[in-house]
């Protein structure tokens, strides 16, 4: 990380001067990929429907026209084949971006993405790296049923050798994607279909956000709420509701869960003496469970209560809107957890 951090392009989006535009999350992703592809010919994008169809979710819209079919590559529906092929290409020194239309479909490519990409460097004794980005929609998209609603961070964060990025807003999506593409290690970049159309302030000009640097989205003194990805917005909403009840929450957006910015979390919890972890994956053996364990360990003497956790319910994702909303780590559940953690229940 030292070498990466010495790179002067690392900036927080807020610190950028100049004009501020409001663009969609998907546009921010596309800007990041296009800028990096202009900068480095080794970078190319492949996946299902990324080229002629303009991307199933229009993230790669227009990229075929700019970069041509040799660099924006439509693949057949064969994740195991094209993910493995991209890993082979990365081990030769290319820098592929692999789009999974949904991370749920990455499960059929589990062997290459878990057994090859994160282990290539280690098993070859440092001879072969794997500079690759896998990206796509993660988590419940809205009434897609259980097979299409995976939050894969629960499964994949268990594996050493991967970096896992879960942005919550457009500005972060751009800055983190550029870092992911320039990173020399495999990066799993987890987007959310529900965030793609959300507009956000994205500065003009080049900036990269380093991995392992959390953002404090809201400062507060009573309780630290830790989250990443889509649930961050639920936490912000919950914090507004709780503020009216006199509970002042600090919301920490981790941005990446591998690496996990523990120092920022610990500093916040030492201030508030109270922590709630919000994670859209299932609770058992989850990143949220890991973060809670770390907070217990490092803030053992600071905590006024045990760390409360909000997860997706421990059931397959239901289809019904009503049931799905209840299943997710929603605003109500977050409010309840904070009230319980601060003894205001």
């Amino acid at each position: 990380m030292t070498a990466v951090l010495s790179n002067p392009v690392f900036r927080e989006p807020e610190s950028m001067g100049g004009a501020i535009r409001e663009i969609e999350f998907r546009d921010a992703l596309r800007e990041a990929m296009s800028e990096e592809m202009r900068r480095d010919k080794r970078v190319f994008l492949l996946g299902e429907e990324v080229a002629q169809y303009d991307g199933a979710y229009k993230v790669s819209k227009g990229m075929l026209a700019e970069f041509g079919e040799r660099r924006i590559i439509d693949t057949p529906i064969s994740e195991s084949g094209f993910a493995g092929m991209a890993i082979g290409a990365a081990s030769m020194g290319l820098r592929p971006i692999v789009e999974f239309m949904s991370w749920s479909f990455s499960l059929v490519a589990a062997d290459p993405i878990l057994n090859n990409a994160p282990k290539m460097l280690y098993m070859s004794g440092g001879q072969l790296g794997c500079p690759i980005v896998f990206r796509g929609n993660d988590g419940a998209g809205g009434q897609l049923g259980s097979t299409h609603s995976w939050a894969v961070e629960g499964l994949f964060s268990n594996v050493p050798g991967v970096k896992i990025v879960i942005p919550s807003c457009a500005a972060d999506a751009k800055g983190l994607m550029k870092t992911a593409i320039r990173d020399d290690d495999p990066v799993f970049f987890l987007e959310s279909e529900r965030l793609l159309s959300i507009k956000g302030h994205v500065p003009e000009g080049e900036y990269l956000i380093p991995f392992g640097h959390a953002a404090i989205r809201r400062t507060g003194t009573h309780c630290t709420i830790c989250a990443w990805g889509r649930p961050v917005s639920f936490c912000m909403e919950a914090a507004e509701i709780l503020a009216k009840e006199g509970i002042d929450c600090e919301v920490v957006d981790l941005r990446t869960i591998r690496p996990l910015d523990l120092p920022t979390v610990v500093a916040s919890v030492r201030k508030t003496s109270c922590a709630v972890v919000v994670d859209q994956s299932w609770s058992f053996a989850s990143p949220g469970g890991e973060l809670a364990a770390q907070i217990h360990r490092h803030c053992f003497d600071d905590l006024d209560n045990f760390v409360h956790r909000v997860h997706a319910d421990d059931v397959p994702t239901p289809y019904s809107t009503k049931l799905e909303q209840e299943y997710l780590p929603n605003v109500r559940k977050i409010c309840e957890a904070v009230r319980a953690a601060t003894y205001r229940a």
């Binding site: 070498a3 195991s80 094209f82 493995g84 890993i87 082979g88 081990s91 290459p112 098993m123 070859s124």
Partner: protein, 376 residues
């Protein structure tokens, strides 16, 4: 391509015009692999080698013939029965043996083992332990060389990738996806199916449809097909050279049914009860090394004395590799934590880590990263 089967008579053959020194190198490479594998088996029995160990005895003509049919810059990738490919590609016997002994002198610093031989300077991209997993990777290597040559450098494709697999891998889904991609994207990769008739203990006809005409699997995806006699190093080298040059020139993939026989068991714990001794003897009488020696003797390329000299020098080289592997130190404990990331962010300070297990100093331990310490 020739379609000679393994039932071909073991008679000597006429030599194509190949320099004698080249032929002698092939013979020596084959002898080196066999001697190496015999001593591997011994070392395994002596518990110097751990884990799984799969020897290449009987298939030496393939690794030697194929690597000698292409250029050194052409990448190769293979499965777990990989010692022969590593040696044929130029890895030293020392680095290969030390890897298996779990010593720091190994090709991957004892992080890979018998099934995972990596040698980037010799363009060997593994050694892969999961059956068929190397097929998309090999296609990716070829994709990358083509992309470098054509998209980045704006020139013509110059390289061809050899991707070895066993006949058992033919039934993996990833392989079908890969053949489809290779056919679709004009990828210059050659899938060399080392068809030794058995996936572990399952005879090919018990697990594979159309096993009498395996190349039909490649044909289904538009790959160029070839059947070759993997027990004849001259046939392998000549046929593979012709095929590889075609794939290089046309930037197209190919599928080779490379007929051969695995003399020993699948691994070191295989009593071979699924086949008869008679069957084994029939194939042993068609030994690729013995046959090649007879051809060279009959054509006056070598004498008995020269062969003896070659065998002695191979014995010495392998003996030396064992001595090297024995004397090479175990990896330092700190190596446990290196090569996980090119850009590491620091040691994991969780409960499963060395401060609780008494481990050595971690080279990427807690360190200041932009004013922050201890990223998890």
């Amino acid at each position: 391509m020739s379609s000679t089967s393994s039932s071909a008579p073991a008679a000597s053959r006429r030599l194509p015009s190949i320099p004698p020194a080249t032929l002698i190198k092939w013979l020596r490479d084959m002898h080196l692999i066999r001697e190496f594998e015999v001593r591997c088996m011994q070392s395994y029995q002596e518990k110097k080698i751990g884990g799984f160990c799969h020897v290449y005895i009987g298939q030496e003509a393939i690794a030697v013939g194929c690597t000698q049919a292409v250029r050194h810059e052409d990448p190769i990738v293979t499965a777990y029965r990989d010692h022969g490919h590593a040696l044929a590609r130029g890895m030293t016997a020392r680095a290969c043996m030390a890897e298996m002994f779990g010593k720091i002198g190994g090709c991957a610093k004892a992080k890979g083992g018998s099934m995972h031989m990596f040698d980037k300077p010799n363009n060997l991209y593994g050694g892969h332990g999961i059956v068929g997993a190397q097929t998309p990777l090999g296609t990716g290597l070829a994709f990358a060389t083509k992309y470098e040559d054509e998209v980045i450098n704006g020139a013509k494709n110059k390289r061809v990738t050899l991707c070895f697999l066993g006949d058992g891998a033919v039934n993996q889904g990833a392989f079908y996806e890969t053949m489809n991609l290779a056919g679709l994207f004009d990828i210059p990769v050659i899938f060399i199916v080392e068809n030794n008739g058995y996936s572990m203990g399952t005879a090919i006809h018990r697990g594979t449809t159309m096993s009498h005409e395996l190349t039909i699997k490649g044909r289904a995806h538009g790959l160029k097909e070839a059947t070759m006699d993997g027990m004849d190093v001259i046939a392998v080298q000549q046929d593979m050279h012709e095929l590889a040059e075609w794939c290089r020139e046309n930037s197209r993939p190919a599928f080779v049914d490379m007929r051969c026989y695995r003399y020993k068991g699948h691994s070191m714990s295989d009593p071979r009860k699924y086949r008869t001794r008679e069957e084994e003897e029939r194939h042993e009488s068609n030994d690729p090394i013995g046959k090649f020696e007879r051809t060279l003797l009959d054509n006056g390329v070598v004498t008995d004395a020269v062969i003896k000299e070659i065998m002695a020098s191979c014995r010495e080289e392998v003996r030396d590799s064992i001595q090297f592997a024995n004397e090479s130190p175990e990896p330092p404990m700190s190596d446990l934590y290196t090569d996980v990331f090119v850009e590491p962010w620091g040691r994991y300070p969780g409960s499963s880590q060395p401060e609780f297990t008494g481990g050595a100093t971690n080279v990427c331990a807690f360190r200041a990263t932009n004013g922050k310490e201890g990223l998890v």
